[in-house]
Symmetry: C2
Subunit: 238 residues, 2 copies
DNA sequence: TGTACATCAGTGAACGCGCGTTCACTGATGTAC
DNA sequence: TGTACATCAGTGAACGCGCGTTCACTGATGTAC
Protein backbone atom coordinates (compact mmCIF):
# COMPACT_ATOMS: atom_id res chain seq x y z
CA UNK A 1 0.00 0.00 0.00
CA UNK A 2 2.30 2.73 -1.21
CA UNK A 3 -0.32 5.50 -0.96
CA UNK A 4 -1.07 4.70 2.65
CA UNK A 5 2.61 4.43 3.40
CA UNK A 6 3.29 7.82 1.86
CA UNK A 7 0.38 9.37 3.74
CA UNK A 8 1.71 7.97 6.96
CA UNK A 9 5.21 9.17 6.34
CA UNK A 10 3.98 12.69 5.62
CA UNK A 11 2.04 12.63 8.85
CA UNK A 12 5.15 11.51 10.60
CA UNK A 13 7.18 14.24 8.95
CA UNK A 14 4.67 16.87 10.01
CA UNK A 15 4.80 15.57 13.53
CA UNK A 16 8.56 15.60 13.48
CA UNK A 17 8.52 19.15 12.17
CA UNK A 18 6.23 20.21 15.00
CA UNK A 19 8.46 18.64 17.56
CA UNK A 20 11.56 20.20 16.05
CA UNK A 21 9.93 23.60 15.77
CA UNK A 22 9.01 23.44 19.41
CA UNK A 23 12.50 22.41 20.40
CA UNK A 24 14.09 25.09 18.26
CA UNK A 25 11.87 27.87 19.56
CA UNK A 26 12.71 26.83 23.05
CA UNK A 27 16.40 26.85 22.15
CA UNK A 28 16.02 30.27 20.61
CA UNK A 29 14.47 31.73 23.71
CA UNK A 30 17.42 30.68 25.73
CA UNK A 31 20.14 30.95 23.14
CA UNK A 32 23.12 32.61 24.65
CA UNK A 33 25.51 34.88 22.85
CA UNK A 34 28.41 33.86 25.03
CA UNK A 35 29.72 30.84 26.79
CA UNK A 36 28.49 32.29 30.05
CA UNK A 37 24.79 32.51 30.62
CA UNK A 38 24.85 35.96 32.09
CA UNK A 39 22.20 35.55 34.72
CA UNK A 40 21.75 31.90 35.49
CA UNK A 41 20.59 32.34 39.10
CA UNK A 42 17.59 34.39 38.01
CA UNK A 43 16.89 32.31 34.93
CA UNK A 44 16.90 29.18 37.04
CA UNK A 45 14.61 30.63 39.68
CA UNK A 46 12.32 31.95 36.94
CA UNK A 47 12.04 28.53 35.37
CA UNK A 48 11.52 26.83 38.71
CA UNK A 49 8.86 29.36 39.69
CA UNK A 50 7.02 28.69 36.45
CA UNK A 51 7.06 25.00 37.30
CA UNK A 52 5.77 25.68 40.80
CA UNK A 53 2.97 27.72 39.31
CA UNK A 54 1.78 24.72 37.37
CA UNK A 55 2.63 21.81 39.59
CA UNK A 56 3.26 23.07 43.10
CA UNK A 57 6.39 22.46 45.16
CA UNK A 58 6.95 18.91 43.90
CA UNK A 59 7.35 20.31 40.41
CA UNK A 60 10.36 22.34 41.47
CA UNK A 61 12.96 20.08 39.95
CA UNK A 62 16.52 21.22 39.61
CA UNK A 63 17.25 19.24 36.47
CA UNK A 64 14.16 20.55 34.74
CA UNK A 65 15.14 24.06 35.73
CA UNK A 66 18.61 23.91 34.22
CA UNK A 67 17.15 22.22 31.13
CA UNK A 68 14.78 25.12 30.71
CA UNK A 69 17.59 27.59 31.24
CA UNK A 70 19.58 25.81 28.55
CA UNK A 71 22.48 24.93 30.76
CA UNK A 72 24.08 21.79 32.12
CA UNK A 73 23.07 20.44 35.49
CA UNK A 74 26.27 21.16 37.32
CA UNK A 75 26.11 24.83 36.39
CA UNK A 76 23.33 25.24 38.93
CA UNK A 77 25.76 24.35 41.68
CA UNK A 78 27.92 27.36 40.89
CA UNK A 79 25.13 29.53 42.28
CA UNK A 80 22.95 27.36 44.49
CA UNK A 81 24.11 25.15 47.30
CA UNK A 82 21.55 22.50 46.46
CA UNK A 83 17.97 21.73 45.54
CA UNK A 84 16.68 23.01 48.86
CA UNK A 85 18.11 26.42 48.21
CA UNK A 86 16.38 26.58 44.84
CA UNK A 87 13.08 25.63 46.41
CA UNK A 88 13.61 28.28 49.03
CA UNK A 89 14.13 30.92 46.36
CA UNK A 90 10.91 29.87 44.65
CA UNK A 91 9.08 29.93 47.95
CA UNK A 92 10.24 33.48 48.43
CA UNK A 93 8.95 34.43 45.01
CA UNK A 94 5.62 32.83 45.82
CA UNK A 95 5.29 34.73 49.06
CA UNK A 96 6.17 37.95 47.30
CA UNK A 97 3.51 37.27 44.68
CA UNK A 98 0.94 36.67 47.39
CA UNK A 99 1.84 39.91 49.13
CA UNK A 100 1.70 41.76 45.82
CA UNK A 101 -1.79 40.39 45.13
CA UNK A 102 -2.88 41.61 48.53
CA UNK A 103 -1.44 45.07 47.99
CA UNK A 104 -3.06 45.30 44.58
CA UNK A 105 -6.43 44.47 46.04
CA UNK A 106 -6.05 47.13 48.68
CA UNK A 107 -5.42 49.72 45.99
CA UNK A 108 -7.96 48.49 43.47
CA UNK A 109 -11.07 49.21 45.57
CA UNK A 110 -12.66 52.62 45.98
CA UNK A 111 -11.45 54.16 49.27
CA UNK A 112 -14.27 55.06 51.62
CA UNK A 113 -14.56 58.42 53.32
CA UNK A 114 -15.50 57.02 56.71
CA UNK A 115 -12.26 55.76 58.27
CA UNK A 116 -14.07 53.02 60.16
CA UNK A 117 -15.69 51.67 57.03
CA UNK A 118 -12.42 52.12 55.20
CA UNK A 119 -10.47 50.01 57.65
CA UNK A 120 -13.10 47.29 57.41
CA UNK A 121 -12.98 47.46 53.63
CA UNK A 122 -9.26 46.94 53.76
CA UNK A 123 -9.60 44.04 56.14
CA UNK A 124 -12.02 42.28 53.83
CA UNK A 125 -9.93 43.11 50.77
CA UNK A 126 -6.91 41.37 52.27
CA UNK A 127 -8.93 38.27 53.05
CA UNK A 128 -10.47 38.16 49.61
CA UNK A 129 -7.11 38.62 47.90
CA UNK A 130 -5.60 35.85 50.00
CA UNK A 131 -8.37 33.43 49.13
CA UNK A 132 -8.32 34.33 45.46
CA UNK A 133 -4.60 33.85 45.23
CA UNK A 134 -4.81 30.51 46.99
CA UNK A 135 -7.52 29.19 44.73
CA UNK A 136 -6.41 30.68 41.44
CA UNK A 137 -2.65 30.39 41.78
CA UNK A 138 -2.78 27.26 43.83
CA UNK A 139 0.60 25.96 42.68
CA UNK A 140 2.38 29.04 43.97
CA UNK A 141 0.28 29.15 47.11
CA UNK A 142 1.13 25.57 47.92
CA UNK A 143 4.77 26.28 47.30
CA UNK A 144 4.72 29.34 49.53
CA UNK A 145 3.51 27.23 52.42
CA UNK A 146 5.04 23.87 51.68
CA UNK A 147 7.00 22.08 54.31
CA UNK A 148 10.61 23.26 54.07
CA UNK A 149 13.40 20.70 53.99
CA UNK A 150 15.39 22.52 56.62
CA UNK A 151 13.83 24.91 59.12
CA UNK A 152 13.28 28.29 57.51
CA UNK A 153 15.50 31.18 58.44
CA UNK A 154 13.78 33.57 60.83
CA UNK A 155 12.40 36.79 59.44
CA UNK A 156 11.39 35.37 56.11
CA UNK A 157 9.28 37.32 53.64
CA UNK A 158 5.93 36.56 55.13
CA UNK A 159 7.19 38.18 58.30
CA UNK A 160 9.10 40.97 56.59
CA UNK A 161 7.96 44.55 56.33
CA UNK A 162 6.13 43.95 53.06
CA UNK A 163 4.93 40.40 53.51
CA UNK A 164 1.36 39.16 54.00
CA UNK A 165 1.76 39.17 57.76
CA UNK A 166 2.86 42.81 57.88
CA UNK A 167 0.06 43.90 55.57
CA UNK A 168 -2.51 42.34 57.83
CA UNK A 169 -0.82 43.88 60.86
CA UNK A 170 -0.99 47.36 59.36
CA UNK A 171 -4.71 47.04 58.69
CA UNK A 172 -5.32 45.76 62.18
CA UNK A 173 -3.44 48.76 63.54
CA UNK A 174 -5.74 51.01 61.55
CA UNK A 175 -8.72 49.23 63.01
CA UNK A 176 -7.44 49.92 66.51
CA UNK A 177 -6.77 53.52 65.62
CA UNK A 178 -10.34 54.06 64.51
CA UNK A 179 -11.90 52.21 67.37
CA UNK A 180 -13.08 49.17 65.41
CA UNK A 181 -10.82 46.88 67.33
CA UNK A 182 -10.20 47.05 71.06
CA UNK A 183 -6.50 47.68 71.66
CA UNK A 184 -6.51 44.95 74.29
CA UNK A 185 -7.42 42.46 71.58
CA UNK A 186 -4.80 43.63 69.18
CA UNK A 187 -1.82 41.52 70.25
CA UNK A 188 -1.76 38.26 68.39
CA UNK A 189 -4.75 39.18 66.27
CA UNK A 190 -2.82 38.62 63.06
CA UNK A 191 -2.28 35.01 63.92
CA UNK A 192 -5.91 34.25 64.63
CA UNK A 193 -7.16 35.96 61.49
CA UNK A 194 -4.45 34.54 59.34
CA UNK A 195 -5.16 31.06 60.66
CA UNK A 196 -8.84 31.29 59.79
CA UNK A 197 -8.30 32.44 56.23
CA UNK A 198 -5.31 30.21 55.61
CA UNK A 199 -7.10 27.21 57.04
CA UNK A 200 -10.10 27.66 54.81
CA UNK A 201 -7.82 27.99 51.80
CA UNK A 202 -5.97 24.76 52.54
CA UNK A 203 -9.11 22.82 53.37
CA UNK A 204 -10.67 23.89 50.09
CA UNK A 205 -7.53 23.31 48.11
CA UNK A 206 -6.27 19.92 49.21
CA UNK A 207 -8.44 18.95 52.13
CA UNK A 208 -11.83 17.41 52.74
CA UNK A 209 -13.58 20.58 51.60
CA UNK A 210 -12.21 20.20 48.08
CA UNK A 211 -15.54 18.73 47.08
CA UNK A 212 -17.40 21.86 48.16
CA UNK A 213 -19.23 23.03 45.07
CA UNK A 214 -19.29 26.54 43.64
CA UNK A 215 -22.06 28.04 45.68
CA UNK A 216 -21.28 26.42 49.01
CA UNK A 217 -17.68 27.31 48.45
CA UNK A 218 -18.51 30.95 47.80
CA UNK A 219 -20.64 31.03 50.93
CA UNK A 220 -17.85 29.60 53.06
CA UNK A 221 -15.42 32.13 51.67
CA UNK A 222 -17.83 34.97 52.14
CA UNK A 223 -18.41 34.01 55.71
CA UNK A 224 -14.85 33.61 56.86
CA UNK A 225 -14.05 37.34 56.92
CA UNK A 226 -17.17 38.17 58.92
CA UNK A 227 -16.37 35.32 61.22
CA UNK A 228 -12.87 36.62 61.77
CA UNK A 229 -14.09 40.18 62.25
CA UNK A 230 -16.63 39.07 64.82
CA UNK A 231 -14.04 37.02 66.59
CA UNK A 232 -11.84 40.07 66.89
CA UNK A 233 -14.28 42.80 67.62
CA UNK A 234 -16.70 41.22 70.04
CA UNK A 235 -16.81 43.21 73.26
CA UNK A 236 -17.17 40.58 75.96
CA UNK A 237 -15.53 37.18 75.73
CA UNK A 238 -18.28 34.92 77.06
CA UNK B 1 49.82 -3.13 64.54
CA UNK B 2 48.22 -6.47 65.34
CA UNK B 3 46.52 -5.25 68.52
CA UNK B 4 44.92 -2.37 66.76
CA UNK B 5 43.84 -4.66 63.95
CA UNK B 6 42.26 -7.12 66.37
CA UNK B 7 40.50 -4.36 68.25
CA UNK B 8 39.13 -3.07 65.02
CA UNK B 9 37.91 -6.45 63.90
CA UNK B 10 36.07 -6.99 67.18
CA UNK B 11 34.41 -3.64 66.76
CA UNK B 12 33.41 -4.66 63.28
CA UNK B 13 32.08 -7.98 64.55
CA UNK B 14 30.01 -6.26 67.19
CA UNK B 15 28.62 -3.94 64.58
CA UNK B 16 27.83 -6.82 62.31
CA UNK B 17 26.11 -8.60 65.16
CA UNK B 18 23.96 -5.57 65.84
CA UNK B 19 22.96 -5.32 62.24
CA UNK B 20 22.18 -9.02 62.04
CA UNK B 21 20.22 -8.96 65.26
CA UNK B 22 18.15 -6.15 63.95
CA UNK B 23 17.51 -7.91 60.68
CA UNK B 24 16.66 -11.19 62.42
CA UNK B 25 14.26 -9.61 64.84
CA UNK B 26 12.53 -7.88 61.97
CA UNK B 27 12.33 -11.21 60.13
CA UNK B 28 10.94 -12.90 63.20
CA UNK B 29 8.17 -10.40 63.61
CA UNK B 30 6.98 -11.07 60.15
CA UNK B 31 7.81 -14.71 59.77
CA UNK B 32 4.93 -16.52 58.22
CA UNK B 33 3.90 -20.08 58.92
CA UNK B 34 2.46 -20.53 55.46
CA UNK B 35 3.14 -19.49 51.93
CA UNK B 36 0.24 -17.08 52.14
CA UNK B 37 0.57 -14.09 54.37
CA UNK B 38 -2.89 -14.31 55.80
CA UNK B 39 -3.69 -10.65 56.03
CA UNK B 40 -1.46 -8.71 53.72
CA UNK B 41 -3.83 -5.79 53.11
CA UNK B 42 -3.90 -4.93 56.80
CA UNK B 43 -0.23 -5.65 57.35
CA UNK B 44 0.66 -3.40 54.45
CA UNK B 45 -1.56 -0.58 55.64
CA UNK B 46 -0.19 -1.01 59.15
CA UNK B 47 3.36 -0.69 57.93
CA UNK B 48 2.54 2.25 55.71
CA UNK B 49 0.74 4.00 58.55
CA UNK B 50 3.75 3.54 60.77
CA UNK B 51 5.86 5.21 58.10
CA UNK B 52 3.41 8.07 57.76
CA UNK B 53 3.58 8.54 61.51
CA UNK B 54 7.30 9.14 61.29
CA UNK B 55 7.73 10.80 57.95
CA UNK B 56 4.39 12.09 56.74
CA UNK B 57 2.77 11.30 53.41
CA UNK B 58 6.02 11.21 51.45
CA UNK B 59 7.17 8.35 53.61
CA UNK B 60 4.29 6.18 52.46
CA UNK B 61 6.28 4.06 50.06
CA UNK B 62 4.83 0.92 48.61
CA UNK B 63 8.11 -0.94 48.33
CA UNK B 64 9.04 -0.14 51.91
CA UNK B 65 5.64 -1.35 53.01
CA UNK B 66 5.90 -4.74 51.38
CA UNK B 67 9.46 -5.05 52.64
CA UNK B 68 8.21 -4.48 56.17
CA UNK B 69 5.40 -6.97 55.65
CA UNK B 70 7.97 -9.50 54.49
CA UNK B 71 6.47 -9.99 51.08
CA UNK B 72 7.49 -9.35 47.50
CA UNK B 73 6.52 -6.11 45.79
CA UNK B 74 4.06 -7.55 43.34
CA UNK B 75 2.06 -9.14 46.12
CA UNK B 76 0.75 -5.71 47.01
CA UNK B 77 -0.96 -5.50 43.67
CA UNK B 78 -3.14 -8.48 44.50
CA UNK B 79 -4.95 -6.29 47.01
CA UNK B 80 -4.28 -2.68 46.09
CA UNK B 81 -4.82 -1.09 42.70
CA UNK B 82 -1.74 1.07 43.10
CA UNK B 83 0.26 3.35 45.33
CA UNK B 84 -2.51 5.92 45.44
CA UNK B 85 -4.89 3.43 46.92
CA UNK B 86 -2.40 2.58 49.65
CA UNK B 87 -1.94 6.23 50.49
CA UNK B 88 -5.67 6.64 50.61
CA UNK B 89 -5.97 3.79 53.10
CA UNK B 90 -3.35 5.40 55.31
CA UNK B 91 -5.07 8.75 55.03
CA UNK B 92 -8.25 7.10 56.25
CA UNK B 93 -6.40 5.64 59.23
CA UNK B 94 -4.96 9.04 60.03
CA UNK B 95 -8.36 10.69 59.95
CA UNK B 96 -9.76 7.95 62.16
CA UNK B 97 -6.91 8.49 64.62
CA UNK B 98 -7.61 12.20 64.72
CA UNK B 99 -11.31 11.61 65.35
CA UNK B 100 -10.45 9.10 68.06
CA UNK B 101 -8.17 11.62 69.78
CA UNK B 102 -10.98 14.14 69.73
CA UNK B 103 -13.48 11.68 71.17
CA UNK B 104 -11.05 10.67 73.88
CA UNK B 105 -10.57 14.27 74.90
CA UNK B 106 -14.30 14.81 75.12
CA UNK B 107 -14.55 11.88 77.51
CA UNK B 108 -11.42 12.55 79.50
CA UNK B 109 -12.54 15.86 81.04
CA UNK B 110 -14.86 16.22 83.99
CA UNK B 111 -18.38 16.93 82.69
CA UNK B 112 -19.91 20.12 84.05
CA UNK B 113 -23.37 20.34 85.57
CA UNK B 114 -24.32 23.54 83.78
CA UNK B 115 -25.21 22.55 80.21
CA UNK B 116 -24.01 25.87 78.84
CA UNK B 117 -20.62 25.52 80.45
CA UNK B 118 -20.56 21.87 79.43
CA UNK B 119 -21.09 22.64 75.76
CA UNK B 120 -18.34 25.25 75.89
CA UNK B 121 -16.06 22.75 77.62
CA UNK B 122 -16.66 20.30 74.81
CA UNK B 123 -16.02 22.93 72.18
CA UNK B 124 -12.67 23.78 73.70
CA UNK B 125 -11.81 20.13 74.21
CA UNK B 126 -12.27 19.43 70.52
CA UNK B 127 -10.03 22.32 69.56
CA UNK B 128 -7.36 21.34 72.03
CA UNK B 129 -7.40 17.72 70.88
CA UNK B 130 -7.10 18.78 67.27
CA UNK B 131 -4.13 21.01 67.97
CA UNK B 132 -2.42 18.42 70.12
CA UNK B 133 -2.83 15.75 67.52
CA UNK B 134 -1.52 18.02 64.80
CA UNK B 135 1.58 19.00 66.76
CA UNK B 136 2.34 15.70 68.44
CA UNK B 137 1.42 13.29 65.68
CA UNK B 138 2.37 15.62 62.89
CA UNK B 139 3.23 12.87 60.43
CA UNK B 140 -0.24 11.42 60.61
CA UNK B 141 -1.84 14.84 60.63
CA UNK B 142 0.00 15.83 57.50
CA UNK B 143 -0.99 12.60 55.87
CA UNK B 144 -4.63 13.05 56.78
CA UNK B 145 -4.68 16.36 54.98
CA UNK B 146 -2.14 15.86 52.23
CA UNK B 147 -3.04 16.62 48.67
CA UNK B 148 -4.59 13.49 47.19
CA UNK B 149 -3.35 12.22 43.83
CA UNK B 150 -6.85 11.83 42.51
CA UNK B 151 -9.83 13.76 43.86
CA UNK B 152 -11.10 12.13 47.00
CA UNK B 153 -14.34 10.21 46.97
CA UNK B 154 -17.20 12.19 48.46
CA UNK B 155 -18.29 11.33 51.95
CA UNK B 156 -14.86 10.48 53.23
CA UNK B 157 -14.22 9.82 56.87
CA UNK B 158 -13.77 13.40 57.99
CA UNK B 159 -17.27 13.97 56.74
CA UNK B 160 -18.65 10.67 57.97
CA UNK B 161 -20.79 10.20 61.03
CA UNK B 162 -17.80 9.69 63.31
CA UNK B 163 -15.22 11.93 61.68
CA UNK B 164 -13.79 15.19 63.02
CA UNK B 165 -16.31 17.23 61.10
CA UNK B 166 -19.29 15.40 62.57
CA UNK B 167 -17.89 15.64 66.09
CA UNK B 168 -17.60 19.38 65.78
CA UNK B 169 -21.09 19.54 64.29
CA UNK B 170 -22.59 17.68 67.22
CA UNK B 171 -21.03 20.03 69.75
CA UNK B 172 -22.20 23.04 67.77
CA UNK B 173 -25.70 21.58 67.81
CA UNK B 174 -25.49 21.33 71.57
CA UNK B 175 -24.43 24.93 71.76
CA UNK B 176 -27.50 25.97 69.78
CA UNK B 177 -29.68 23.80 71.95
CA UNK B 178 -28.50 25.54 75.10
CA UNK B 179 -28.63 29.02 73.70
CA UNK B 180 -24.88 29.58 73.48
CA UNK B 181 -25.01 29.85 69.73
CA UNK B 182 -27.71 31.64 67.78
CA UNK B 183 -29.45 29.15 65.49
CA UNK B 184 -29.18 31.61 62.62
CA UNK B 185 -25.41 31.38 62.92
CA UNK B 186 -25.33 27.63 63.01
CA UNK B 187 -25.21 26.83 59.28
CA UNK B 188 -21.66 26.63 58.05
CA UNK B 189 -20.25 27.20 61.51
CA UNK B 190 -18.23 23.97 61.35
CA UNK B 191 -16.32 25.25 58.39
CA UNK B 192 -15.34 28.55 59.96
CA UNK B 193 -14.25 26.98 63.22
CA UNK B 194 -12.47 24.13 61.54
CA UNK B 195 -10.64 26.53 59.26
CA UNK B 196 -9.36 28.59 62.18
CA UNK B 197 -8.02 25.64 64.13
CA UNK B 198 -6.73 23.80 61.09
CA UNK B 199 -5.06 26.90 59.76
CA UNK B 200 -3.23 27.55 62.99
CA UNK B 201 -2.07 23.95 63.05
CA UNK B 202 -0.66 24.05 59.53
CA UNK B 203 0.97 27.46 60.00
CA UNK B 204 2.70 26.23 63.13
CA UNK B 205 3.63 22.91 61.62
CA UNK B 206 5.06 23.74 58.22
CA UNK B 207 4.38 27.40 57.72
CA UNK B 208 5.94 30.71 58.69
CA UNK B 209 4.82 30.28 62.28
CA UNK B 210 7.04 27.25 62.72
CA UNK B 211 9.56 29.48 64.42
CA UNK B 212 7.05 30.52 67.08
CA UNK B 213 8.66 29.53 70.37
CA UNK B 214 7.07 27.60 73.20
CA UNK B 215 5.35 30.42 75.02
CA UNK B 216 4.16 32.42 72.02
CA UNK B 217 3.01 29.20 70.50
CA UNK B 218 1.00 28.27 73.58
CA UNK B 219 -0.57 31.72 73.61
CA UNK B 220 -1.60 31.47 69.97
CA UNK B 221 -3.11 28.06 70.58
CA UNK B 222 -4.89 29.24 73.69
CA UNK B 223 -6.37 32.16 71.89
CA UNK B 224 -7.68 30.40 68.81
CA UNK B 225 -10.59 28.71 70.58
CA UNK B 226 -11.75 31.94 72.20
CA UNK B 227 -11.38 33.68 68.90
CA UNK B 228 -13.53 31.09 67.20
CA UNK B 229 -16.10 31.16 69.97
CA UNK B 230 -16.36 34.94 69.79
CA UNK B 231 -16.65 34.78 66.04
CA UNK B 232 -19.59 32.44 66.37
CA UNK B 233 -21.45 33.81 69.33
CA UNK B 234 -21.28 37.56 68.83
CA UNK B 235 -24.78 39.01 68.64
CA UNK B 236 -24.53 41.76 66.06
CA UNK B 237 -22.23 41.54 63.05
CA UNK B 238 -20.89 45.08 62.80
C1' DT C 1 -14.13 -39.15 49.79
C1' DG C 2 -11.37 -38.15 45.64
C1' DT C 3 -10.17 -35.53 42.10
C1' DA C 4 -9.81 -32.12 38.28
C1' DC C 5 -9.51 -27.50 37.80
C1' DA C 6 -10.13 -22.49 38.36
C1' DT C 7 -8.70 -18.99 41.13
C1' DC C 8 -6.15 -16.70 44.64
C1' DA C 9 -1.88 -14.94 46.61
C1' DG C 10 2.55 -15.39 46.55
C1' DT C 11 7.90 -15.34 44.19
C1' DG C 12 12.26 -13.12 42.39
C1' DA C 13 13.94 -10.59 38.87
C1' DA C 14 13.71 -6.94 35.95
C1' DC C 15 12.28 -2.52 33.55
C1' DG C 16 12.31 2.19 32.91
C1' DC C 17 12.36 6.42 34.94
C1' DG C 18 14.01 10.74 36.68
C1' DC C 19 16.07 12.54 40.25
C1' DG C 20 20.08 15.12 42.99
C1' DT C 21 24.69 15.27 42.80
C1' DT C 22 29.60 14.84 41.37
C1' DC C 23 33.49 14.13 38.26
C1' DA C 24 37.40 15.94 35.53
C1' DC C 25 37.73 19.22 32.48
C1' DT C 26 37.57 23.86 29.68
C1' DG C 27 36.39 28.46 27.97
C1' DA C 28 35.91 33.27 29.62
C1' DT C 29 36.90 36.95 32.61
C1' DG C 30 39.17 40.01 35.74
C1' DT C 31 43.29 41.65 38.00
C1' DA C 32 48.13 42.66 39.72
C1' DC C 33 52.35 43.96 38.02
C1' DT D 1 49.63 48.24 27.05
C1' DG D 2 50.84 43.31 27.73
C1' DT D 3 50.87 39.36 30.06
C1' DA D 4 50.72 35.66 33.61
C1' DC D 5 47.61 33.69 36.45
C1' DA D 6 43.77 32.92 39.67
C1' DT D 7 39.09 32.49 39.59
C1' DC D 8 34.57 32.15 37.77
C1' DA D 9 30.99 29.76 35.16
C1' DG D 10 30.26 26.67 32.06
C1' DT D 11 30.48 21.34 29.64
C1' DG D 12 28.96 16.38 29.00
C1' DA D 13 28.99 12.20 31.05
C1' DA D 14 28.27 9.44 34.75
C1' DC D 15 26.96 7.64 39.49
C1' DG D 16 23.94 5.77 42.66
C1' DC D 17 19.55 5.66 44.30
C1' DG D 18 14.90 4.16 45.07
C1' DC D 19 10.82 4.31 43.23
C1' DG D 20 6.21 2.28 41.02
C1' DT D 21 5.12 -1.23 38.25
C1' DT D 22 5.19 -5.52 35.44
C1' DC D 23 6.78 -10.06 33.90
C1' DA D 24 6.33 -15.15 33.75
C1' DC D 25 5.86 -18.26 36.96
C1' DT D 26 4.38 -21.26 41.21
C1' DG D 27 2.46 -22.86 45.59
C1' DA D 28 -1.95 -22.97 48.17
C1' DT D 29 -6.81 -23.03 48.44
C1' DG D 30 -11.60 -23.71 47.47
C1' DT D 31 -15.24 -25.85 44.82
C1' DA D 32 -18.21 -28.73 41.64
C1' DC D 33 -19.03 -33.24 40.55
Amino acid sequence: MPTRARTLSITVLVQQYDVMARVMSRRREHRRTSYHHGDLPNALTDAATEMAKTGGPDAVVLRAGVREAGVSADAAYRHSADHGELLQAVRQRALDALAAAMRDRLRSGEPLADPVAESLRKFRALGAAYMDFALRDSGLFRTAFCRPGKPLPEGMASMSAHGPYALLGAVLDEMVEHGVLDAARRPGAEIAVWAAVHGLATLLLDGPLASLAGDDRAKAIGRISDFALDGLTVAVPS
